[in-house]
Symmetry: D2
Subunit: 370 residues, 4 copies
Amino acid sequence: MKAIQATPELKLQVILGAVALLPRFGNLEEILERDGFKVDAKFYMIVEGETPVTMSKSAGLGIIDLTMIFYNLAPDMIVAVGDRFDVMAPVLAATYMNIPIAHTMGGERSGTVDENIRHAITKLSHLHFPANEDARDRIIKMGEDPSKVFNVGCPRMDYVLECLDQMKKEVAYDYSDFFAKHGGVGGCFDLSKEKFLLVSQHPVTTEYGSNRQYIEEILHALNKFKMPTIMIWPNADAGSFEISRGVRVFRETYRPEWLHLFINLPIEAYLRLMRLCSCMIGNSSSAIREGEVIGVPAVNIGTRQNMRLKGKNVVDVASSRDEIYQAIVRQMESGFYETEYLYGNGSAGKKIAKIISETNITTTQKINFY
Amino acid sequence: MKAIQATPELKLQVILGAVALLPRFGNLEEILERDGFKVDAKFYMIVEGETPVTMSKSAGLGIIDLTMIFYNLAPDMIVAVGDRFDVMAPVLAATYMNIPIAHTMGGERSGTVDENIRHAITKLSHLHFPANEDARDRIIKMGEDPSKVFNVGCPRMDYVLECLDQMKKEVAYDYSDFFAKHGGVGGCFDLSKEKFLLVSQHPVTTEYGSNRQYIEEILHALNKFKMPTIMIWPNADAGSFEISRGVRVFRETYRPEWLHLFINLPIEAYLRLMRLCSCMIGNSSSAIREGEVIGVPAVNIGTRQNMRLKGKNVVDVASSRDEIYQAIVRQMESGFYETEYLYGNGSAGKKIAKIISETNITTTQKINFY
Amino acid sequence: MKAIQATPELKLQVILGAVALLPRFGNLEEILERDGFKVDAKFYMIVEGETPVTMSKSAGLGIIDLTMIFYNLAPDMIVAVGDRFDVMAPVLAATYMNIPIAHTMGGERSGTVDENIRHAITKLSHLHFPANEDARDRIIKMGEDPSKVFNVGCPRMDYVLECLDQMKKEVAYDYSDFFAKHGGVGGCFDLSKEKFLLVSQHPVTTEYGSNRQYIEEILHALNKFKMPTIMIWPNADAGSFEISRGVRVFRETYRPEWLHLFINLPIEAYLRLMRLCSCMIGNSSSAIREGEVIGVPAVNIGTRQNMRLKGKNVVDVASSRDEIYQAIVRQMESGFYETEYLYGNGSAGKKIAKIISETNITTTQKINFY
Amino acid sequence: MKAIQATPELKLQVILGAVALLPRFGNLEEILERDGFKVDAKFYMIVEGETPVTMSKSAGLGIIDLTMIFYNLAPDMIVAVGDRFDVMAPVLAATYMNIPIAHTMGGERSGTVDENIRHAITKLSHLHFPANEDARDRIIKMGEDPSKVFNVGCPRMDYVLECLDQMKKEVAYDYSDFFAKHGGVGGCFDLSKEKFLLVSQHPVTTEYGSNRQYIEEILHALNKFKMPTIMIWPNADAGSFEISRGVRVFRETYRPEWLHLFINLPIEAYLRLMRLCSCMIGNSSSAIREGEVIGVPAVNIGTRQNMRLKGKNVVDVASSRDEIYQAIVRQMESGFYETEYLYGNGSAGKKIAKIISETNITTTQKINFY
C-alpha cells in the first residue's frame, strides 16, 4: 500500500472489512490511519459462528457488500491478497463487474480449502504476483499468460524484513511490561531470561470436527515439557470454536501455570517472540514465511501447510502428541537455522506498484494458454 | 439426472433455482415433475436489473441461500453444470461446507467471464466430466489429478441426440400451429415452406455497454435479407437489457414484418427450428454444440464463443454488419454440413452416474498436480 | 424533493432503488436528472419472482444495501413515503442506525399487507406527515405525539394538481401518436374521439393465489362491453405473475381487439387518460387519490382499497364479473363528479420541507403517548 | 413451548437462530434437546461487530434466511417473543409471506429502539399476548381488535416462578463450586457467607457512543463500596463493545479484586444470585420482571427501562456515579421487598397454547380499530 501510494501514476483506494474490521483482532483502522492511509469504505461481513455454514454465508454477504462498494468507488483494478476464504468475495464481485484483478501469493501449495481457493483466484485473476519462482512456474503451468506472472516475493515479507532490520539495530529491548501491554490470560514469566515455546494453531477447515482433537494432542505434548509457553488464539475460520473449547477445557482440567494465551498480537510483538522462543509449534504459515528468515526452529503439525514450500527451519509432523513431543525435543536441540529467503527479499511492494503502473489490463478477454 | 436416478447406489436430490425458477424462462418445475423428478429445494436468487452489479449481488444471495439448503439437505456431493455466472454460487457454498464437487463441461474455452469462471470451478472441483478429449487435456494441464478427469461427453447432448433421433423417425410434423403454440411477437410465416433464418444473440458480459451495438449490427445485416427470421430473446446475463432495447427500437423504427421474436422455446421446438432454418446467426453455444450434430450452417459473431472447439458448420465473424451479411450469404450457399460429434455421443449421463457411484471422493485434501 | 432542495436549511440526498431503478418501470434516473436532481446512491434489491418469498427476500436484501448506503451518506433524517412493502427496508435500517424517520401518507386505511406495514412504519417514525385530518387523528390515536403529526396533504397530489392545472390551460392536445409513443401491445384507437375504459388492477398480496381469478372476473366483465379499453400492467408485488398470466391467456383465447396494454406510463400521460376515459376500473389507489380531483367515475374492486377514505367518484364492488359489469354501467351513466380534495390541495411538499427545517428530532427517546 | 407441545391441536416447530445459536451465549441447542424439543431449523444471522451497522445488516440477513425457513416449514402461525431487534426478522418475513403472527410481551413501555420495535411488531401481529392489563390497554389503544388481545402474563415468568418454587423447597444449596462451574474472570468469594452486589448493564442502542461512559459511572460507584460484586457480560446489541472496552480498561487500571465477570449464566444460576445478592444494579429488565417476584432491591440506571411498569423493588437513577452510589446505599438499607406479580402468575404458557388452539386467524384482512 505504501508503494502504491508513492507511485504517482496510481491512486490507492483502501477497503477495510471482514475480520480486519473486528475489534477482537486488533484495531486495524487505527493502525491504517496512523500509517497515513485513508479508509475509503468499510464493510462488516463476518457472520458469527465460526462454522462451515457461517464461513459460506459470510462470503455471500461479502459479495453483496463489495458489489455496492466497487460500484461506488469504481476502481480500475483490485489487488487481492493470498487465499483466505473471504478473499473470494472481492475477487468474485470484481469478476462479475468486469474489474481487473491482481493477485499476490498465488501459485503456492498448502492444505485445507485455502489450496483450492488460491488456485481458483489465480484462474480469475489478470495479473499475478507470486512470492517465488516455484509459485510462478505453477501459475504458468495452470495456463496463465507468462507475461502476466511476476515473481516479486511476498509483500508481507517486506514489512517483516523491515521490522527485523529495525530490531537488529536495537541495543536492548525492555520486555518487562510485555504481558501487561498485550493482555491475555494465564501465567506470565520473564521473557528476557526464560526459555519458552511459541504456539499458533489454526483450524483445518477441511477437517472440521477434528480440530479439538488436534489441539488436545498439542496441549498434551506441551504438558510433558511444562516449560513457559505462549499460545496465540486461533483465527476465525470454521473450527475455531473447537480449538478454543479444547484449550478452555484443558486449562480448567490441568490448570497449566506454564501457559499464557494472547488473543492477538501486533506483528512486531509477534516477531519478537519468534526471535526469542526456543521453538515454534502449530500450523501457522508464519513459522514457514517469517520463520525461514528468522531461522526459528519450528514444528509444523498436520495438513494445513501440506506441500507448502518450506525452509530448513521447519519439521513436519502428524497430529500426534508423541510425534509432536519428539519433534520439539529435536528442534530445541538443533537451535536456530541459517536465514533463507524463499518468500522474497523485501522489495515486493515496490515491484508490484511499478508493474501495475506500467501494465495495461482489461477484462475484455483474458487469454488462457491452454 | 435420469441416469443418477437409475443408479441404485446413488440418491438424487434436485435443487431448482436462479433463472430456472423464473416463469419468464418457462415452467421448469412443471417439466421436472412431469419427467418424474421431485424438487427437494427451491431458491430465488436473481436480483432484477441484468447489469454487472445485479449479476454480482445475485451470486452473493445465491451463496447465502444455498448454504441453508446444503445445510438442510446434507448432500454427499454436488454436480455443478457448465460455466454460467450463477453456477459459482453452489460451487463456492460447497467449497466452504466441505462438500465434494463434480463438474461437467469443464476445460472448454470461450469468451466472456464464463471462461474465467469455468476454470475457477475446475480448480474448486474434485471430479471432472469434460465433454471431449481436448477439454480433458486442458483440465489435466491445469494441474488436476488425471485419475479424476473423465471424458464422458456433454450431458446436454444426450438429450439433444435423443430428441433428434425421435425427430428422424417422424413421418411428418405439423408446423401450422407453431407460432400460436409458442407465442412471441412479430410476423408469422409458414415454417414448412418458407426459408428462414434463426438468430440467438446473448450479452457479452465482459463487453457490457457494447451489446446494443452488436445487436444493431446483426439487425442491419438481417435487414438486407428481409427474409423470414426467428429471433430468441437473450438470456438474463448483464447486458440483456441493451439487447432488448436495441431490438425494440429497431422494431419501432423499421417495423420489420419479417422478424418474429420468441421469449423462450422448449428445447424440442428449438431443435426443430435448427433443422429447418437456412442459417443460424448469433453467439449462442447451441450453434456449436447442437449445431455440429445437426450440421446447420452457422455464423458465430463476436467474442462470446472465442476459442471454443467448433465443428465445420460454424464460421466466425466480427460484430460488423458487412461481415455478418457476407457470412450468412456464404453459409446459405454451402447448405447443411456433415454431422460431427465433438461434444459426445449421447452416453454422458450414464457414464457420469457410473463413475460417481464408483469413485470415493473426500474434501480432506484435494491433490493438485503442480 | 423540489421543496427540500429549495429550503436553504436542508440538504437533499437522493437514493434510487427497488422498482424505481428497473427499466421495465420506466427510466426514473433519467427523469430525476432532467428535473435537476443528483442521485447520491443506487441499489438493486428486487429479487425476481414476484411471490411472497421474493417480496420477503427483497426486503432483507434492501436492508443490507441501505445499511451500507446510510453508513456512507450519514443522513440526519430519512423521508419514507407511503406503505409499499419495500419502504420497510429504509425504515428498518434507519431504526437500527438511530436515524430519525419522517413518514408521509401514514394513518390511512386500506387492505392487503400495506395496511399493517403503514401502521408499523408509523410506530417506527418520529415525524408524521399524513395526507388528511382523518389520517392525522388515527396516527394520534395510535399513541404518537400530536406535536409531531402534521396534516399537510399528500405530496404526490402536489405534482398531480400541477399537471392538471397545466392541462386545463392547454388549448388542444394531439393524441394521434399516443400509442406509438408509449408502446404496449393490442388494439389502438382514436383517443380524442372514442369512448374508452381505463383499467389498473394490482395484486392483492394477502390473497396471493386468487389474483388470477380476480383479473379474469374483470376481463369477462369488460368482454361484455367490448369497448376500447386501456389496461396498465400490474406492479411488481407478489401475485403480479398471476395477473399477467390471466391477461395473457385471455388474450390468446378471446383475441380482444378492444384491449390495449401499456407496461407503464409517465404520470402525465396517465392523468390524460383519467381525464378522457369514461370509467376507471380496478384496485389502484390512483382512482381514489388522483380520481377525486379529476372526478373520474371509478369502480373499485375487491379488498385492496378496503376502508380507504374515498371521494364520491368511487363505487366499491366485490371481485365478481356481474357486480363489476353493473357498476361500470352505472358509473358511465353518472359521468364525471365534482372535484374533491380529501388528499390535500397541492402544498404538501412546501409544508413538509418547512416543518423538517424547523423541527428538532433525535432518536434518543421517542415518546409514545400510551 | 412445553404448553404448545402438550396441546394435541397444535404442532410445535422450533427455529433456533440469531444469538441463541452462538456458543458464547451458552449452548441452547443442547438445552432444548435435553428438554425434549426437536430443532426444526437453525440459522446464523448475527454479523459480527456489535454496532448499529451490524445490527441492521443482521436483521436483513435474518429476513433472507427466515424466508427460506418459513418456505420450507410452512408454519400456520409464528409466535414472536418480545422486542429484541432481531425479532423483527421473523415478524417481517411472516408479514410478507402471509403467515399470521402471535406476539408475546407487546404493549409494554421501555427506552431504546426496543420501544419502537415492540409497537411496530404489535401493528404487524394478529394475536396479542401482553403480560399485564396495563400492556393490554395500550395495545387496544393502538387500534388492535380487543377480541384478539389477551392478558396472559409473561411466559418467561412461568419458568422463573417454577425455578423459584423449586429453590424454596431446597433444604440447602452448595455454592462452593459456583465460580469453578460457571467460569468467568476476576476475584472469587464465598457466596454463602459474603454480601455481594449483582450488576447487569446492557447497551442503550439509541445512545450508541455513550455506553462506555455509562459503564464507567457504574464502575466508579461500585469502586466506592469495593464489596464483592458479580457482573454479567453485556448482550450483543450495538454498543456492547463500548461496555466491554470500559470494563477491560477499568480492570487494567484499578485491578479490582472485588469484581468477578461471568460471560453468561444459566437462568437458574442467575436467579440464585438474585436471591442472594444485597442489591441489583444496571439496566437489565430482569431486575424488574424476575426482581419484583424475588423482591430484590434494585437500582435501575439510565433510559433503557424508561416508563417500564415496575414494582416497588426498583429505584430509577440517572447514569451518574453519585446517584448510583446513593441509591445502592439506600437499597441495601431497605433490604428485600414484598413479592409482586405485575408480569403474570406463571400460567402464561398454558393460556397462550389454549387461545392459539381455539382462535381462527387468517392474514387476509387484519382489522384495525382506528
